[in-house]
Symmetry: C2
């Protein structure tokens, strides 16, 4: 069976690495000639609009995406010829924050208050209703903190409008969260859903930096998050992995956004779970039985941003698993990650103590007592 | 850093899969245009003798092998230009059973009695001394049971001589072993050695079919095997992974042969160890710190011989990890493997009970009470 992947970044690369073990073949489409998945699978260089005219993609048994902003229309067009999983509907919803939040609310999944903004008067009216602080975001094409402005006082309005006003926007209530977390699940075409444990996530300047799983939280919270994800997946008749990002605080759980693909917050599943998110996504896409999502210990994932750190000392830390995406260094770019694995919380704490002095200051500072097992 | 690999089979393929995560680049040489490592790394199609004339190999930072019968002279020639790890000396010893057994004996590592045979009179003299049963083997190019004949009575001599007599031979005492086992270790250029747990191995018609690790044996036995491997690696100033195959019986431990490369009996290290043999081999070859060889539970590996079994039902077994090498089906060919992983022996027994009804009769029959935890 051959799978076509739209987008050739590290998510595609990790899907290919997982899928070849299952006997799957791949072909990847990406606009960039140096897309890093191209090191492991044949790469077609082309823009998204060209997808439905690529004979090699049309000859695939399945199409899936490593990029959530592949235009839904492209997926619709492909879906006429090839089974596209997850389907275009999930992308339509995930690509527009207003549609996304409206869908979540429609499904009775609690979200921060929000309002559409397409003019200065609408912005003022939205602030009147939602209050400050609030977050002004582009409805489309935002990722890793791009296309967002936090409005703390009236003085922030004009600069934010200058920066973002040319786009269709959404204003969202600022949420006084204690943690961010993410729940990944996989659903097969028959409707069976398997959940991974909840991850705690730590972002810096909008970019995911750390993920810890399983998050040491009240099981009732996990049940609630699972119930939200189940509602969403069933509604979308979803096939593959999906991640719902959530805020946790005194208010309970609020959904932030979902990604219709494998997700950075679940990279720890490569070592931490019996079946990684990449493999389970492909199992669902290819109609193979879903794999066990049970844990193999405690994990803490570090994202490497901009450039890979010097490998030598870090590779000496027992239980640190290394993932270099083979990408050129560039500011703000996700170029790799590492996952610290341990049998239990005590061993994780011990290993974290070994790795901490080897980390750059920024990463070390993000290891607050709340996410780490060091308390 | 770029690593050239001589041989593009599944061992090279699994090395590439492990090494790209460390940021290593690869190029592979193989005589076969469909060598399965070529699906993950650039492949040069050429015979071994051409290796030292391939500019892309000469431009590599290191050369290593996935095949123990790359002529030692080819490695010598390459070593004049590129660091070859492990070095030619290990291949010279491993490629000739007489040299190999003599080296082991020289290092005081106990081996079954043996004698060189290059004529009928020598064969008769060797049998006179060693007795029957015995095993007549070609000194070179035997693998997976090829080039061997068991001599149980005088009647077996003539057919064996007819089949093998044109080669240089060795007669080895037949060993009444209770188990076969294998010990894999990795040694870096600085001399540090890390050992994996001992594997129990089950062969059928000379081909490895099952491996279980860690083998539930007396720790003194493991210490003895480690001591043998240490002597051998230090003597060869070895860099990379090496596996020593041993017989276990009332006589204690006897060394059978060693492989100067990653080895089928340690494929379980992909899931069962914190650092797989493939990654540790490359870490040693590339002068990166050796990785932790600690276990992550109990494992049982199944080799798929000839053709891959139907994937659907087997993939439903929790904890079964699948490895399809992407090779064409062919009788007697190793086309893939699967590793059953579990937290402990009880869970392994439980999972084995789930998988047993799904196995072909031949594989199921090899799951004797001795290797499995079912007793």
């Amino acid at each position: 069976m051959r799978i076509g992947i739209l987008g050739g970044g590290q998510l595609a690369r990790m899907m290919v690495a997982a899928g070849i073990e299952l006997g799957l073949d791949f072909i990847v489409l990406d606009p960039a000639s140096d897309a890093c998945a191209g090191q492991l699978a044949p790469l077609i260089i082309g823009d998204w609009a060209s997808a439905s005219e690529q004979p090699e993609l049309l000859a695939c048994d399945r199409i899936t995406c490593d990029f959530e902003n592949v235009p839904a229309a492209v997926l619709e067009s492909l879906a006429a010829a090839v089974t596209v999983r997850p389907g275009p509907m999930a992308f339509e919803a995930a690509q527009d924050r207003l549609v996304e939040k409206s869908l979540l609310r429609q499904l009775s999944i609690p979200v921060p208050d929000f309002a559409p903004v397409s003019s200065r008067p609408e912005l003022l009216a939205a602030i009147e209703r939602i209050g400050l602080p609030a977050v002004l975001k582009t409805r489309r094409l935002g990722y890793d903190g791009k296309g967002q402005a936090v409005l703390r006082s009236q003085e922030d309005l004009e600069p934010a409008w200058q920066a973002l006003g040319e786009h269709e926007l959404i204003l969202e209530a600022w949420v006084p969260y204690r943690h961010e977390c993410a729940l990944t699940a996989v659903r097969c075409a028959g409707g069976e859903i398997r959940f991974y444990p909840l991850s705690w996530t730590v972002h810096d300047q909008g970019i995911l930096r750390l993920a810890r799983a399983p998050a040491p939280v009240d099981p009732a919270l996990v049940d609630e998050a699972r119930s939200h994800v189940r509602l969403l997946m069933d509604h979308l008749d979803y096939v593959g992995c999906l991640t719902l990002e959530l805020f946790v605080g005194e208010f309970g759980l609020l959904a932030n956004e979902f990604a219709p693909r494998v997700h950075n917050s679940a990279h720890w599943t490569i070592e931490g779970s019996l079946t990684s998110q990449f493999e389970n996504h492909l199992r669902a896409v290819a109609d193979l039985p879903l794999g066990d999502t049970g844990m193999r210990g405690q994990t803490l994932m570090f994202n490497w941003i901009g450039a890979m750190p010097a490998v030598d000392k870090l590779l000496s830390v027992p239980g640190l698993r290394w993932h270099d995406y083979g990408k050129q260094a560039r500011s703000g770019r996700k170029v790799g990650h590492a996952t610290l694995v341990a049998r239990d919380q005590d061993e994780l704490a011990e290993r974290l103590a070994q790795i901490r002095p080897l980390l750059d200051d920024q990463t070390a500072s993000l290891l607050s007592g709340e996410i780490t097992p060091l308390g």
